[in-house]
Symmetry: C2
Subunit: 133 residues, 2 copies
DNA sequence: GTATTTTTGCAAATTGTTCGCATTTGCTCG
DNA sequence: CGAGCAAATGCGAACAATTTGCAAAAATAC
């Protein structure tokens, strides 16, 4: 394991929300080239140390986000107000995926699911309850 | 409604699988510029006539795919062998989304879910059952 | 039919990501 | 411990999907 890959893996293992490639580069305090970060991420995902999904956000555009593959598979909510992620906890659609798999004869190797909207804070800020101010 | 937008909407309404921007341009036989196609898709999505999601595929890279917003909300499976989509039918995670929404105080305005792997055909082709040849 | 607003075409710019290639690093073995 | 080699990195250029500025063309309003 090279220095760059160790730093990249530490960045995503230590983050408590999905990180874009640039986010990883910022957190991984290896001063390595962005190409190296991309290659490291690709390597780590192939090796099973990381997972990724692509998300489009009004502020950051379309980017690929990486999360650690340690622990159970999880899903995320993306807030369109503060552009942060909220952890939705462990995956709850395993049963549904298995059902669809057998119903349709598919071999599912991965699934992507995420929600977006406004988190509790941004939601309260944009449409405060009566008497909240 | 302009000619270009009508053609773009007809393309996605008539397609039985999600279409990328270039796929829309190919199917919509308006010879309009690609910028127009992108703008029309953005407009149609904003106006509620189309939905989209971003998917990364080994053959086509990362692209945004559009589907008609007519009929019930659906989800898709993407085959990494033939790179086609399989319709998973109407959304079955509405309850889960509502649960997460109330559990975590979120305001969910959209959700993305798709599966990938090998479709029945590609699966059979790559690992035929005993006696299948 | 004319004025006003919106949309389109074209070409150039953006942006996330990938690639080629020479150099450096990590590891294996003697 | 140091030579030999395969794999990884840095740098810069290349890419591909998507967006944007602006003048011309088409909808729509009046």
């Amino acid at each position: 394991m090279t220095k760059a890959r160790i730093a990249v893996l530490a960045a995503i293992d230590g983050a408590e929300e999905p990180l874009s490639a640039s986010g990883v580069a910022a957190r991984a305090n290896c001063d390595c080239d962005q190409a190296t970060v991309y290659r490291a991420l690709h390597h780590l995902e192939t090796a099973g140390f990381a997972e990724s999904f692509v998300l489009n956000c009004s502020e950051h555009g379309t980017e690929r986000y990486y999360v650690s593959a340690k622990g159970p598979h999880r899903h995320w909510f993306h807030c369109e107000g503060c552009h942060r992620f909220v952890d939705l906890g462990a995956c709850r659609i395993g049963g549904l995926v298995a059902d669809l798999e057998s119903e349709l004869g598919l071999r599912v190797t991965r699934h992507t699911m995420y929600l977006s909207g406004l988190c509790a804070e941004c939601s309260a800020r944009s449409a405060p309850r009566a008497g909240a101010h």
